[in-house]
């Protein structure tokens, strides 16, 4: 029996060594597909993450924990002249360690971009993004959720002449569904409608949208833009969700202001109906980006926007400031910091007056070899809310957490 075990181990070793020899031959170069220009890179990413606030009980006792993420995935980049394809897809098994191990889940993410005739007069751009994750953009949920979302966009740019004036017609379909994270429990009191997992599962929706963009490059790297968008929400259950629709119009300029300074200055107006009632507001996007060298940038911006979170009365207006600074040093070391602060006002809601979210994440990344990268970072999240008098302070409305992660990625 022992001899058989030894033999098995030896065979497994030789098996792995055999494939290691192949991997060493071209690790990082990928697999050539579609002629000589396309490259397929399978990869695997391992991430260890500490979360200071994984869970808390109904008595508000907070507990921390470690999560191990295993993400097998692939990237495909085929930059052809007639058709260009870009794909990044991965599965993500999140294994919670210790007492929270039953929170382990399978997630996934995929981004696909297909561009047709990008240098021609008439082109086609198709993008699709899928995400199954425990994270969400929605700030009106009372507890942790798992969100499945898919966003499909089809755009047709028309570039007559030299391409200085581009007209783009686009259409899109966004689909989102939600489920309770843990055994159907969202928040502490099951008698409250906002804590009902069955109700949460019916808050899924589809957004359909159409848009038109006019872009005129009056300088080689500076453009004036005029954008318009109409959208309509089709809720899964119209008894539990309103059926809002709305429009936005933006006008402004984007591009280089000087050799090392780029920016955006856009303003506009937007309106949402049946959110419930009507919400109208001015819109703005002001952004400045400093590009001291080609491999470094510092971006600072502000956005004023409107939107609707799932539910009956969660139409909102928002102010958001953001920071994104990154530098690539010696073609090998990347340092980055992103930060965002968002304030949302829910003027029609009986549950939530306002929500604030602060996220700060500094990180660093090193390319050890062409096929191996390591990275580490810290993320701080703080969420606060303003509740109307007589309202309920749900767990997801007020919390903070600190996360630290170490990441290792091997790419074939």
């Amino acid at each position: 029996m022992t001899g058989e075990m030894t033999l098995r181990r030896a065979l497994v070793g030789s098996f792995l060594l055999g494939f290691a020899a192949v991997a060493q031959a071209s690790a990082g170069n990928g697999i050539r597909v579609g002629g000589s220009s396309g490259r397929l890179h399978p990869y695997i990413e391992l991430e260890g993450r500490y979360d200071s606030n994984v869970a808390f009980d109904q008595n508000a006792n907070q507990s921390s924990g470690f999560i191990l993420h295993v993400r097998p995935g692939l990237t495909l980049d085929s930059p052809g002249e007639s058709v260009a394809v870009k794909l990044d897809a991965n599965l993500d098994w999140a294994q919670y360690l210790g007492k929270n191990s039953n929170l382990s889940r399978l997630y996934g993410e995929a981004q696909l971009g297909v561009g047709v005739n990008r240098r021609g007069t008439l082109g086609l751009e198709l993008t699709d993004g899928f995400r199954r994750s425990s994270t969400t953009h929605v700030l009106s949920f009372s507890g942790a959720v798992v969100e499945n979302s898919n966003s499909l966009t089809l755009a047709v740019p028309w570039r007559p002449g030299g391409g200085a004036f581009v007209t783009t017609v686009s259409g899109g379909w966004d689909l989102s569904t939600f489920e309770a994270f843990d055994k159907g429990l969202i928040c502490g009191d099951p008698t409250l409608p906002d804590c009902d997992a069955g109700r949460l599962a019916k808050l899924g929706y589809s957004d359909v949208r159409g848009g038109l963009e006019l872009r005129w490059r009056f300088l080689p790297r500076t453009a004036a833009v005029l954008q318009g968008e109409y959208w309509k929400r089709l809720p899964q259950d119209s008894q539990l969700s309103s059926k809002p629709w709305g429009w936005r119009v933006w006008a402004g300029a984007a591009g280089l202001m000087s050799a090392h300074l780029a920016g955006t200055l856009k303003g506009g107006w937007g309106s949402i109906s049946d959110a419930p009632g009507s919400i109208s507001s001015w819109l703005a996007n002001a952004e400045v980006e400093w590009l001291p060298v080609e491999t470094a940038s510092l971006k600072l911006g502000y956005v004023r926007d409107i939107g609707v979170d799932p539910g009956q009365d969660f139409g909102f207006t928002s102010h958001r400031g953001y920071l994104d600074a990154r530098a690539l040093l010696a073609s090998q070391y990347t340092a980055q910091i992103t930060a965002s602060y968002e304030h949302r006002d829910y003027p029609k809601s009986n549950t939530l007056d306002a929500a604030d979210l602060l996220v700060v994440q500094p990180s660093a990344d090193i390319e050890l070899t062409r096929w191996l990268r390591v990275g580490a970072g810290v993320a701080y999240t703080k969420r606060t809310s303003k509740i109307p008098s007589g309202g309920h302070q749900f767990p997801a409305f007020d919390f903070d957490k600190t996360e630290a992660f170490v990441r290792l990625r091997g790419t074939y």
């Binding site: 020899a21 606030n53 969400t136 073609s331 997801a396």
Partner: protein, 196 residues
């Protein structure tokens, strides 16, 4: 079952190591008999065989010259000056050697007809040496095209890989980042575990 597992494990590394070798381009056939040919060595070959080998050698020369000339034309279309110069340098010499081989073959046919063995041996050796050189230069032409890449599809392609972490390059396509994602802590029932 165990026996099949053993075979699978044994075969896998073998196949894996054999795979790169299988992808390597096949070596071009070079007539061993004519490599390093001398008139004395040619004397050991019957005249009829000499004529036959010489004819085969001329065909091999023509084929090699045509192959390199074709790729030179492709390089001209692609406007790849470096590749074109490299190919033309080889091609000029190969054409000269082809001319020498043709003249030597004519002289060989005459000499065999006249039963002039000394001249036949000399001319046969010239054909053999020219063939050897042409084939060697054909191989060098392949190398100068960039590690035999030409043998796959024959078209130059430039692949630019942008390192991760670079800021966006098209400064007119600017959209603000999407709202940040948030993961609220999970609410556990009191009796969910022994720790609560």
């Amino acid at each position: 079952m165990f026996r099949y597992t053993v075979w699978a494990f044994l075969l896998a590394p073998t196949l894996a190591l054999a795979a790169p070798a299988a992808q390597a381009p096949a070596a071009r056939p070079r007539p061993a008999a004519i490599a390093g040919m001398t008139p004395d060595a040619a004397a050991q070959i019957p005249d009829a065989k000499k004529l036959e080998i010489a004819e085969q050698s001329l065909r091999a020369i023509r084929k090699t010259v045509d192959r390199v000339a074709g790729r030179s034309d492709e390089a001209r279309v692609e406007k790849d000056v470096g590749k074109l110069n490299c190919l033309n340098a080889q091609l000029t010499q190969m054409k000269g050697l082809a001319k020498v081989a043709n003249q030597a073959n004519d002289a060989l046919v005459d000499a065999v007809a006249k039963k002039d063995s000394a001249t036949a041996n000399t001319q046969f050796a010239r054909v053999a040496i020219a063939t050897d050189k042409v084939q060697r230069m054909g191989g060098e032409a392949d190398v100068c095209l960039g590690q035999l890449a030409y043998l796959v599809d024959g078209k130059t392609s430039v692949q630019v890989e942008q390192p991760e972490g670079l800021p966006g390059m098209d400064v007119t396509q600017r959209t603000p980042p999407p709202p940040p994602l948030v993961a609220p802590p999970v609410v556990r029932p009191v009796n969910a575990s022994q720790y609560y």
